[in-house]
C-alpha cells in the first residue's frame, strides 16, 4: 500500500478545488448517488444536445478527497463527448479500478488516460474503491434515466 499513490498531487488539488461543482442550468438529465460508507452524497447534472453530446456536466455534493477528485476529473473529461462514448469510458474506468492494469478505451486520449490513472492508487485500498466510483455510477444512472438513487453498497466496485 502506498499513500503517495493514493493521494497524488492532482487528486489533492482536484479534491480541494473541484471543477464543475455547481448545478447546470437547464439540465436535461440528472441522478443522485450515495455512499453509506462515508456518508458521501453526489448529484450529477447533464445537459445533452440534440446529437446526444454532453454540452455540460456538473455535480453537487460533498465527500472525501477521493470522491470529490474523482467527480471533478470525471466531469472535466466527459464534457464534450458523446453519450455512447461516455458509456464506454465509464466501463473502461470501472474495469480499470476493478482489475485491469490500464485503460483501453479508444475514446480517451493519452493525456486523459494519464489523468484518470491517477485514481488507480485506490485499488490498493479496497474500502476506498467506492469513493472513487460513486460519481461514475451516478453518471451512468443519469444517462440511463434510472429513477432510483445510486447506492454504492449495491455495486461491486
Amino acid at each position: 500500500m502506498n499513500l503517495k499513490e493514493l493521494y497524488q498531487e492532482i487528486i489533492l488539488e482536484h479534491g480541494k478545488n473541484p471543477r464543475n461543482l455547481r448545478r447546470t442550468e437547464n439540465f436535461n438529465k440528472d441522478a443522485k448517488g450515495h455512499n453509506p460508507l462515508c456518508g458521501d452524497k453526489v448529484h450529477v447534472y447533464l445537459k445533452l444536445d440534440e446529437n446526444k453530446k454532453i454540452e455540460d456536466i456538473s455535480f453537487e455534493g460533498s465527500g472525501c478527497a477521493i470522491s470529490m477528485a474523482s467527480a471533478s476529473i470525471m466531469t472535466d473529461l466527459i464534457k464534450g463527448k458523446e453519450e455512447t462514448e461516455v458509456k464506454e469510458i465509464v466501463e473502461d474506468f470501472l474495469g480499470m479500478i476493478k482489475e485491469n492494469p490500464e485503460l483501453n478505451s479508444k475514446n480517451l486520449k493519452e493525456d486523459e488516460k494519464t489523468k484518470l490513472m491517477c485514481l488507480s492508487g485506490v485499488k490498493q485500498y479496497p474500502m476506498r474503491v467506492k469513493c472513487a466510483t460513486l460519481s461514475w455510477h451516478t453518471l451512468t444512472s443519469a444517462i440511463n434515466n434510472t429513477q432510483h438513487e445510486i447506492n454504492t453498497e449495491k455495486m461491486e466496485v
Partner: protein, 406 residues
Amino acid sequence: MNIDNIKEQFPIFNNKINNKDLVYLDSANSSQKPIDVIDRMYDFYTKEFSNVGRSVHYLAVAATNLYENTRISVQKYINAKDKNEIVFTKGATEAINLVANTYGQKNLKEGDEVLLTELEHHSNYVPWHYLRKLKGVKIEFAEINNVGEVTLESIEKKITSKTKMIAITHLSNVTGAILPIKEITQLAHSKGIPVLVDGCQGAPHLKLDMQDLDCDFYAISCHKMYGPTGLGILYAKKKWLEELPPYQGGGGMIERVKKNDISYGDLPNKYEAGTMATAQVIAFDESIKFLNKIGIENITKHEKDLMDYGQEILRKNNSVKLIGNPKKKGAVLSFTIEGIHPHDIATILDEDGVAIRAGHHCCQILHDKLGLNATARASLGIYNTREDIDKLNLAINKCKKIFSLK
C-alpha cells in the same frame, strides 16, 4: 494486576499488524481481548465442551454450572438483586430489541411516546421505530446542548403525560457525554415511566451499580467489555421479566408444550430460547475477573487521565476540532480536521498503524444535528497509553502535511 503494563495481557499487541505496531483506538467499536478470555474459550472447547441445559452427563452438568456461574459473576459485577435478572443475548442490539418488542407488545399503544435522545445509537432507535410503524407510537428526542450533552432538564422538557418509556445511552459513543442516569431514573419513576439504559459504552468504563442507577433495563455488549463476540447482556428488574411476554420462542424456554397451547418456563429461561452462546458466556467470566483484578476505579481513572491528555494535545493541534465538550466525559475523542474528510484521515492514520474509526458511528441523528456527514473517532481502552495519544497526534500531523494544512 498493574495497569501500566496491561498491554502484556493482550496478545494482539505482541504482533506487528501490517508491519507496524498497533495503536488501537477503536475500542468503542470493539475492544481487544485479554489472553485469559481467549485461553478460556480454547480450554473449554478442547477439554470441556458440552451444551448446557438438561442433559445429565458429566460434561453437560459441568458446562451448565460454568454457564450459571457467569450469570452470578455478572449479577455481582453490576450489583443486580437477583441472578435471574441477568439475561444473555446475542448483543446489546438484541437486548434492546427484546425490550422494545416485549414492552411494546404489552404496554404501548397508538399515541404513546417513547423518549430517546439525539445521542442515541441506531440500535437504540430502530427497535423503537418499529413500534412507530407497527403501533403508531411516537418517538421524541431529547436535545443535546452545545457541548454535546443531554441534561436532566433536556429530558424533563420532553416528558409528557404520554411518555411511556425513556430509552437513553449511558455514555455517548461520539461525544463521550455521560448522562445523569440516576437523576433521570428518579425523575422518570416519579412519573411512573420506566427507563432503559443503553450501557454499551458505559459498561466497559464506568462502575455499574443497578441499585444505585435504579434503571429498569440495562443493555450490555460483551465484546466491548473485553469479552467474546456474539454475546450481550440484558439486565432487567425481575418484575419486568416476570410481567412481559417472552421474546424468541424455542427449546429451553418452555414449561409445557401441547398441540393447542404452550406455557413458558421461569426466569431466566423464558428469555433464553434455543442453544445459547455457551462458550462465550463461560469465557466472559474471565472478562469479569480481569476487570475485577484491575478494579473499575483504576480503569476509570486511567482512561480519564488519558482522555484529558488527549484533549489537551488535540486542542493544541491547529485545524483539529474536538466534537463535544461535556463536563462528564468518557473515553472517546471524536474530531474533525477542517479540510480533510474523516475517511481520508482514517486511511492515512492507518498507514501508521493507528486504528481509528470514521463515519457516523451509527449516530446519524446526532451527525445531522451537528451538520456533519462524518467524524473521526479515537476511542480508548485500558490498554491505551500516552504514547498511543502521541502517535495519534503525529499521524494527524502527517495527514495535515499530505493535505498541506498547518
